[in-house]
Symmetry: C2
Subunit: 132 residues, 2 copies
DNA sequence: GTAATTGCAAAAGATTTGCCCCATT
DNA sequence: AATGGGGCAAATCTTTTGCAATTAC
């Protein structure tokens, strides 16, 4: 197995993700990381996000509304709510019964590694009254 | 409200989507549509897919693995299984209990318009034996 | 010392858009 | 005839990649 290094860049990126609750994009992480490491490049941010995602440390969320991927550094299972109006992305609890989905009866599926639940709708800040 | 026209292009695109079970990309739909309309352009395919998606007629699926969006012309609720190895995208039944999720207790959510469940794993064609 | 990782910039990929013409209503 | 929609090509946006220099181990 390939050896990995603990670079300052990787640490800063993971730290940002761990502290943020807003599911930042690579660009937002980049801007934040530049405060600690003014020379960090966007390519490095992307490379590390891909690395952390492949490692299972963070989750990449590709919003159904389009636009950039958003990243989630939380380590407990949860679902996501997307506001279709303001593109806020909120963590919501996983509905009961979804923690242990089984797909034995589904002959085309051999193994399940991840279950992603996305709820799309309108957040309270964007309710009826608001301009759409 | 803006009046919409039934163009040959829009009809062909929707027809392809309705008949396909493989969740084609815009590019695949474009190639297929060219058989009926040799002059259709990729831009037109994208414009119509966006239109049909905004109208709620088709669903756009942004694969967690990355790459192009895939489109789903089915009209009954279902979940999706993504094979992480061959990028097959299969319709699977919505697990019981997910048809009528309620989010009353979630104060930040005002309305829900769509629930998307994505199961990521390995399909049977890509099981253990296969080259990864 | 060595190989993983970085910064930079260019490239690639996917989707959108402007403009002018055509076709549906 | 009016105008929504199409074709084409350029533009935009997001993400990836090649390469030489750097740095963690």
């Amino acid at each position: 197995m390939k050896k990995t290094r603990n670079t300052r860049q990787r640490g800063v990126i993971l730290g940002i993700l761990r502290e943020s609750h807003e599911h930042p994009t690579a660009e937002m992480i980049y801007r934040e990381a530049r405060r600690a490491l003014p020379n960090i490049s966007l390519g490095t941010v992307y490379r590390n996000l891909n690395f952390l995602r492949d490692q299972g440390t963070v989750r990449e969320i590709r919003p159904s509304e389009g636009g950039s991927s958003r990243f989630d550094g939380a380590d407990t299972p949860h679902a996501h709510f997307h506001c279709a109006h303001c593109s806020a992305l909120l963590d919501i609890p996983l509905p009961p019964g979804l923690e242990n989905l089984r797909f034995e009866e589904e002959k085309r599926i051999s193994a399940v590694s991840l279950v992603d639940l996305h709820v799309i709708g309108s957040c309270c800040g964007c309710a009826e009254g608001a301009t759409h």
